[in-house]
Subunit: 280 residues, 2 copies
C-alpha cells in the first residue's frame, strides 16, 4: 500500500523527527549547544554531515523566546507549517465561510481550525471523544464539534451546517470524508493532508466523484516539503499568533525513550491531544 | 442520491438537449427556419420565450458548413465543449505527458483523447469493448486501449504506463478511477466529468485520499455551464480541428422519436460510439 511516507524495511531505524542538541561539531553552521530538527528517527545519538534525510536537511530551531523547544516538532514545525500552508494555500478560506476539519484534535487539525477562526470562518471539528470536543470548543473556540464515534456525522452536519460546507481539511479519508463531501457547496475546496483511516486496513468508501462533479469541488493533496522555500514565513506567522494569544497548542508528552513505541501506538489509537512528543 | 443533474419528478418532461427548428417566431433573434439548441427535453414541439432552461438559454446553432446540425448536440455542443474546457483547463496537459481517459469511446472521452494527441501527449483509453478499442486506436490514433470488462486494469496500466500517469479525465468514478489514481505521478491532475459507475447503484470503492496525499494530486469536478462565457471559443477551435482532419467524431443515431427510451437505455448500457442521437 501507499502511505504518507515510504514503507520501512526490516532493520531500518524507525522514522520520526527529533529536536536534537548538538554536542560535537565540525560544521560552522551547526555550533555545539544549538538545537536542530531533522528526520533522525528513533535514536538517542546521530552523526550528521548536514545532508538531507527524507528530503529535508537538518534545520536550526528558530528563536522561540520562552516557549519550549519541543514546539519545533509541532506548532513551529511540520505540523504547524502543514496547517498554515495546507489550509491557506489549498482551501483559500474566506470570511464567513464554513470550514470542517477532521482529525480536529490532532496537531495539524487543532491548528487549522484556529486559523479558520482567525480568518473569520465558522469552524466545525470532527474528533473521536467528547473530551477532545470540549477542548476544541472551550479552549480553541471552534464553533462546534462532532464525535464521529458516538454521533451520526451526516445528521449532525445537516444540523450544524445547513448553509453547506465551503472548505474541508481532511486528515482521515474514508467514509468520514465521503460524508463531509456530500455536504459541500458549489466550488468547495478540499485540502487532503492525510488518510489515517486507511493506514492500517483498507475499508472501501462511497466514491467521492459523485459529489465532486455536481458541486464542482477541487480536492488537492499535499506533502509539506512542497513549501520548504517558504518555511520561515509560516513559523513567523504562527509565532506571532501564539504571542498574541490567538493560537493555542497542546502537547501530549511521554517521558522516556523506552516508551517511544507505546507513545506511537497511543497516537495511532487517538489518545493524544495535539502533537504527540516523546522526551528522551 | 446526487447525480449529474437534478432528479426528475414524476410527470416532468424527461431531460435532454435538442436541435430544434424554429417554425413560428415573434422574437427577432430567433427567426423562422433557424436551428436552436436548448434543454427542451423529450418532446416534439416546444414553446419558448427565450428564457433559460436548466441554466442555459436557447442558442442558435453555429454555421457548421456542410457538417450535420446534430453535431451541435455532440462535438460542437455540450460534450465537445466539456472535452475542450474540462480537459484543457483542469488537466493542463503538457507535451510528452501521459493521459488516461475513462469512458473513452463516448462523446466526451473520444474527443478528450484526440485533444491529448493534438497536444503531444501519450493517450490511453479505457472502454468496455474491443470494437470500441479498435476504433480508438485505428481511427482516433489513441496510443492504446484497455478493455475494463475483460482485462486487469491495474496490470495493464503498469504495462502500458510504466512512466506513470500525469492526467486522468474521469467519466466513470468508482473502482476504475481508484485504480487509475494509484498509477498517477507527482502533481498529477484529475478532471472529473462524470461518475456513471455510480448512477444506478452505489458500489463502494477504494478511497482516493491514499493516492491524493503522497502524489499531491489535484482532482476537480466540473459542469460545463461554468465556461458558458467562453462557449464560442471551444466551438471554433473544435470546428477548425475537424476541418483540418485532426479531430474525428462518430454518432450513434437512432431513428424515430418513439425509440427515445430504448436509445437512452442502450447508451447507459454502453452500446453507443460517440454521441447518442435520436432523430425525430
Amino acid at each position: 500500500m501507499r502511505a504518507y511516507a515510504p514503507s520501512l524495511k526490516l532493520g531500518e531505524v524507525f522514522i520520526g523527527v527529533q529536536v536534537a542538541k548538538i554536542i560535537e561539531s565540525k560544521h560552522p553552521k551547526f555550533p555545539v549547544g544549538q538545537l536542530v530538527t531533522c528526520h533522525f528517527g528513533w535514536r538517542t545519538h546521530t552523526i550528521s554531515d548536514g545532508s538531507p534525510i527524507r528530503g529535508v536537511p537538518p534545520m536550526l530551531v528558530p528563536d522561540l523566546g520562552d516557549l519550549p523547544s519541543s514546539l519545533a516538532l509541532g506548532i513551529f514545525g511540520r505540523p504547524g507549517n502543514s496547517a498554515y500552508f495546507g489550509f491557506l494555500e489549498l482551501c483559500n478560506p474566506k470570511v464567513g465561510e464554513t470550514v470542517v476539519v477532521s482529525g480536529a484534535a490532532g496537531a495539524v487539525g487543532s491548528h487549522v481550525g484556529q486559523i479558520g477562526k482567525i480568518k473569520g470562518c465558522k469552524v466545525i471539528g470532527i474528533a473521536g471523544s467528547d473530551e477532545k470536543g470540549n477542548w476544541l470548543k472551550k479552549d480553541l473556540k471552534f464553533d462546534d464539534f462532532i464525535n464521529y464515534k458516538t454521533e451520526d456525522l451526516d445528521k449532525r452536519l445537516t444540523e450544524l451546517c445547513p448553509e453547506g460546507v465551503d472548505c474541508y481539511f481532511d486528515n482521515v479519508g474514508g467514509e468520514t470524508s465521503s460524508i463531509v463531501l456530500s455536504h459541500m457547496n458549489l466550488f468547495g475546496r478540499i485540502s487532503v493532508c492525510g488518510s489515517i483511516s486507511g493506514y492500517n486496513e483498507l475499508v472501501k468508501a462511497t466514491p467521492v466523484q459523485r459529489y465532486v462533479v455536481p458541486k464542482q469541488l477541487r480536492m488537492e493533496g499535499f506533502v509539506i516539503n512542497r513549501w520548504m522555500d517558504r518555511w520561515p514565513e509560516a513559523i513567523q506567522q504562527n509565532l506571532k499568533w501564539v504571542n498574541e494569544g490567538k493560537l493555542k497548542y497542546r502537547e501530549t508528552v511521554t517521558e522516556g525513550f523506552e516508551n517511544m513505541f507505546t507513545a506511537f501506538v497511543e497516537m495511532l489509537k487517538g489518545s493524544n491531544f495535539g502533537k504527540a512528543i516523546v522526551k528522551a
